[in-house]
């Protein structure tokens, strides 16, 4: 019997809750923020979705861009 460990569910739930508490919005709004930031930035910078990460902590919205061309 294989089941998804309850920890990964808990982790996802608490992360979604914490982010939506921090920016006072629902989890799907957070998804929208990410998508729109992504599309806005992609007009000027070339990157894939894997290079692009949005983190919201208590005081900042941090956009991490990891796509350094070598």
């Amino acid at each position: 019997m294989l089941r998804k460990s309850s920890v990964s569910i808990a982790r996802d739930r608490v992360k979604a809750l914490v982010v939506s508490d921090r920016v006072h919005c629902t989890p799907d709004v957070y998804e929208n923020i990410c998508r729109e930031l992504h599309s806005a930035l992609s007009k000027y910078i070339e990157f894939t979705e894997d290079d692009f990460q949005v983190n919201i902590n208590r005081t900042q919205v941090i956009i991490t861009f990891a796509g350094e061309e070598s």
């Binding site: 920890v7 608490v14 809750l17 914490v18 508490d21 208590r58």
Partner: protein, 263 residues
């Protein structure tokens, strides 16, 4: 000049009061002069956890209203020298005192004590605001549960908004057996989400319940939680102590398998 530390969590029932009692006892064991203050007006508990409930004459509200002198309300602990309790009032509510009055009280206590520990009520309302008013440091207690972590995150945000930036995290009631089977978040999971420095992780230890039953801090008993609390006290005073292994190796199967492993 003493340090004023508020012990807070947002959510109720995660172990603030037990933590306050044990940190108080532990710090006094380290030869520090400590006073613990129960700021939960109307729901007095810290005295019971410390086994001092029969010695209360005056309380926090009496001191603030000037019914008695500060010295008259302080109860000296039976077991630990240099440990004092300022109990809460059972018949008043949170509106009986204001943040300004708490600030004044703690600054008075700072003159005489090395550590002033404030046991904060659950919630984010006036009781919380009173408790944090005079604090220059905070310890956030949480458990590895979604609701407790979420509340802790809100508390951290509120403390930052009130310019209380010296914060440390205690993760309470960790069950290593559940962590191992992937049914409980790890210390790292919780620390990563809350992103404040970890000052201690406590195993879910029966001895804590036994200690509370007897009105005795677990720090005085031979136990994992007692050792973990003592380590936290040392870290509070600035000592560097390595984090202990939470895993319990004393189960009979582990003992047996360890026995056979030996050459």
């Amino acid at each position: 000049m003493g340090e004023v530390i508020v012990i807070t969590s947002g959510k109720g029932g995660v172990g603030k009061t037990t933590t306050t009692a044990n940190l108080g006892a532990g710090l006094s064991k380290l030869d520090k002069k400590v006073v613990v203050i129960d700021t939960d007006l109307g729901l007095r508990n810290l005295d019971v956890v410390m086994g001092l409930e029969n010695l209360i004459v005056y309380n926090l509200v009496d001191v603030i209203e000037g019914t008695c002198r500060l010295k008259q309300a302080l109860i000296r602990d039976k077991r630990y020298e240099n440990l004092y309790l300022l109990p809460s009032a059972q018949t008043k509510d949170k509106t009986a005192i204001s943040p300004g009055q708490m600030k004044k009280l703690t600054s008075e206590l700072k003159e005489e004590f090395d550590y002033i520990l404030l046991d904060c009520p659950a919630g984010i309302e006036q009781g919380f605001m009173n408790a944090i008013a005079g604090a220059n440091r905070a310890i956030i207690v949480t458990t590895p549960e979604v609701s407790a972590i979420r509340d802790a995150d809100r508390i951290i945000g509120l403390l930052e908004a009130n310019h209380l930036n010296k914060m440390d995290l205690i993760i309470n009631r960790i069950r290593m057996d559940m962590v191992k089977r992937g049914d409980m978040m790890t210390v790292d999971d919780v620390t990563e989400i809350l992103s404040i420095p970890l000052i201690g992780a406590l195993p879910d230890d029966e001895q804590v319940v036994i200690g509370t039953n007897q009105g005795e801090p677990v720090i005085g008993l031979d136990s994992k939680a007692g050792t973990a609390y003592m380590n936290i006290c040392k870290r509070i005073t600035g000592m560097e102590v390595p984090f202990m292994e939470l895993q319990n190796n004393t189960g009979i199967l582990t003992k047996l398998s360890n026995f056979f492993k030996k050459d």
